[in-house]
């Protein structure tokens, strides 16, 4: 296939997906709910990582004051946990609709238009982005896994688990994106009321 044909095929696939989801959304709601439960679970894990990372970081700093020294393993564990919060928490954050938007237009339009924006945005922006990210980061993880890559720092941790987290996290996000698409389609069809209206995240 030429590149032009590839491009056309992708556009057709996206359009087909919108049509299919709109047609089948009633039957897909079970799937959407199952994905929501999965995201809620990973979200709980990410919540715990906040507290754990806090305790590890503070404990590490304290140990250093008291002259116990600190180890690279503890330092690296902190950002492993940061990676965990971000990658496992993003899908839950998407579920509760807290990814920030520029709502100059979004804030003015009615609910139905918002559902359409979310449906099309999910198909055109989010899904391809996640698929590409998985595509780019998977071989990167495999390369690390095959050599059993470890940190260059003395006493550092194995590197491949955190590299595995990237494709896994984007898979969760991809699934949640699918769930959102199904729910938005259902909302457009009028048999589902979306529970998380968009509110600006508070800082």
């Amino acid at each position: 296939m030429t590149k032009l044909q590839w491009g056309l095929a992708i556009i057709v696939a996206m359009a087909l997906m919108v049509v299919l989801v709109l047609a089948l959304c009633r039957h897909l709601m079970g799937l959407a709910r199952a994905i929501d439960r999965l995201s809620a679970t990973t979200g709980v894990a990410a919540n715990w990582l906040i507290l754990l990372a806090c305790l590890v970081s503070a404990g590490n700093a304290f140990a250093r004051y008291l002259g116990f020294g600190s180890s690279n393993a503890w330092l690296e564990m902190q950002w492993y946990m940061f990676a965990g919060m971000v990658l496992f928490g993003a899908s839950h954050t998407l579920r509760v609709n807290e990814h920030v938007r520029v709502d100059l237009i979004y804030g003015m339009v009615e609910d139905k238009t918002r559902h359409w924006i979310d449906l099309l945005g999910g198909v055109v922006f989010l899904m391809p982005m996640c698929i590409l990210m998985i595509y780019f980061s998977w071989p990167w993880f495999i390369a690390s896994w095959e050599v059993n890559e470890a940190s260059n720092n003395a006493g550092g941790l194995l590197r491949w688990p955190v590299k595995l987290m990237i494709p896994v996290g984007f898979t969760f996000l991809l699934l949640q994106g699918l769930s959102e698409i199904i729910k938005r389609a259902a909302a457009i069809k009028g048999f589902y009321v979306h529970e998380y209206a968009y509110e600006k995240p508070l800082q």
Binding site: K3, G43, A46, N47, L49, I50, L51, C54, L55, V56, S57, A58, N60, A61, F62, Y65, L75, Q78, W79, F82, A83, M85, V86, L87, G89, A90, H92, T93, V96, E98, H99, V100, R101, V102, D103, L104, I105, Y106, G107, R114, I117, D118, G121, V124, F125, L126, P128, M129, L132, M133, F136, S137, W140, V162, K163, I166, K200, P201, L202, Q203
Partner: protein, 484 residues
């Protein structure tokens, strides 16, 4: 047509970014999608190499392994705990009684408590909610002007953004590649000036319109003498301990900002336990809201990195830098343009979007024009403060609306914020004409004399070698096989 597009892919990409963001889909995902889409187009046009996109995992990894970004969850978590632990209540109660007898006394108390809370934590919510719940009813009961009361509370809540340890400054330091410690040191001067500006405004108001800011009648000041002193100590001692734990350790070089944030969070948990307000529900709510904010911010950053990777690849960065350095008025022109631009863009983008999308575009031009980046970062920080006070991202106003009694009209809250926004803009102006406000607190850069270094280099003689050109090395015979 095609060649025109391919030669101007930078501007086209920038236009597409604006368009895609305006649609209203979550910004992080839109940014990443624009970046990837144009990445494929640029490969197709032969502008960038296909291997370019292979750098994306490295970009992702560098975000996730950035130790400094961990300060975002830590400071947010700390703020979430402090918000409801009862410290702000004690502070306001005692300082309000202390200043109550002078006109505008409650306003001064709110400003000082805002500054103290600002020095403890790095987020806005904590101070505004606490101050609104406690001070607003008191101010209303004793006849404070409604617009003034809501304005001073919202404004004092936003002081947090400038006073170290501010989350805004951590993020700006990271984006600009500067040290957080320097950013914090530079922020000391502007913070003092801002608090003074606010106080001066209250003083002017109490002279011009004393009925807007009446003194508390004696029967309202229930605490006196020892009881008042005890209450003050109860509020101020734990605050001082927390300030030391966070700011002290950073300035003394004992802890990184990230570690200081973690210790502050643990410290505020301990404080909440001391005040007997620590419940598992409070803690878990804090964890949960912190996690959502962290994931949201990290995804804006991921999107922005992917976007800028491709944007730099197609030459967009150079295009922007060229535009900005060619502005009429050179350095001053650039400063004025960027300040006005940031002020207005803050109506459309929230702080993290500005920091991750706009600031990286401005920084190279600022550097090229010889502008001190610490100073520039603090200007942006002081400028962005206003965006917490005006719609649509005026968090301070939303918080206030959320907790204000129904007789407070939204109109009062919005109108009341105007004088304070003007005061913050005056601060930006003062910082521009008087950069010493920032640089005074920074360590003086070490003066380097290139000639002296050259001399030192010449003086260095490697051991075992005679003077340069002495030829003490044995000649190499390339034809002979190496002797083993």
């Amino acid at each position: 047509m095609i060649t025109t597009i391919s030669q101007n892919l930078g501007p086209v990409m920038f236009g597409a970014l604006v368009l895609f963001l305006l649609i209203g889909y979550p910004a992080g995902f839109s940014l990443a999608a624009v970046g990837l889409f144009f990445g494929f187009i640029a490969i197709e046009f032969g502008i960038i190499d296909p291997s370019f996109l292979g750098a994306i995992p490295f970009q992702l990894f560098s975000i996730l392994s950035n130790d400094l970004l961990l300060a975002i969850p830590f400071f947010t978590f700390m703020g979430a705990i402090l918000e409801r632990c009862g410290l702000a209540e004690d502070l306001l109660d005692s300082i309000g009684q202390l200043f109550g007898s002078i006109p505008g006394g409650l306003s001064y108390a709110v400003i000082f408590v805002g500054a103290i809370l600002g020095a403890i934590t790095g987020t806005v919510a904590a101070s505004v909610i606490a101050m609104g719940v406690i001070s607003l009813p008191v101010m209303m009961r004793y006849g404070y002007n409604m617009q003034h009361a809501t304005g001073v509370i919202a404004a004092s809540g936003t002081i947090t953004q400038l006073i170290p340890p501010s989350l805004v400054l951590v993020v700006l330091a990271d984006v600009m590649g500067k040290s957080v410690g320097d950013m914090y040191a530079g922020a000391i001067g502007p913070s003092i000036v801002q608090v003074s500006l606010f106080c001066v405004w209250v003083a002017i108001l109490s002279y011009l319109k004393p009925h807007h800011v009446p003194a508390l009648p004696p029967e309202a000041r229930t605490l006196r003498g020892k009881a008042l002193a005890w209450k003050c100590i109860r509020g101020i001692v734990p605050s001082a301990a927390l300030i030391f734990l966070v700011l002290g350790t950073i300035f003394m070089g004992l802890a990184t900002p990230t570690e200081a944030g973690a210790m502050g969070a643990v410290g505020s948990l301990a404080l909440a336990a001391m005040y007997r307000t620590l419940t598992w529900k409070l803690c878990y709510q804090g964890m949960s809201s912190t996690m959502r904010l962290t994931a949201m911010v990290a995804f804006i950053l991921i999107g922005a990195r992917i976007f800028s990777l491709i944007f730099q690849g197609v030459g967009g960065g150079l295009w922007i830098e060229h535009l900005l350095t060619q502005l009429p008025g050179g350095r001053e022109g650039f400063l004025i343009f960027s300040m006005v631009f940031v002020f207005f863009i803050a109506f459309f983008l929230d702080f993290f979007e500005i920091a991750f999308i706009i600031v990286p575009l401005l920084t190279p031009a600022a550097e090229k024009l010889g502008i001190d980046l610490i100073w520039f970062g603090l200007l942006i920080c002081a400028n962005i403060q206003t965006s917490f006070m005006h719609p649509p991202f005026g968090f301070a106003l939303f918080y206030l609306r959320g907790i204000a009694p129904p007789e407070v009209k939204s109109r009062d809250i919005y109108l009341g914020s105007i004088p304070w926004i003007v005061l913050q803009l005056i601060l930006v102006g003062l910082m521009i004409v008087w950069p010493e406000m920032v640089t005074y607190w920074l360590d003086k850069p070490v003066q380097i004399d290139p000639a002296a270094i050259q001399q030192r280099m010449n003086d260095l003689t490697p051991p075992g070698l005679s003077a340069p050109g002495g030829g003490s090395m044995p000649p190499l015979d390339l034809n002979a096989p190496p002797k083993l």
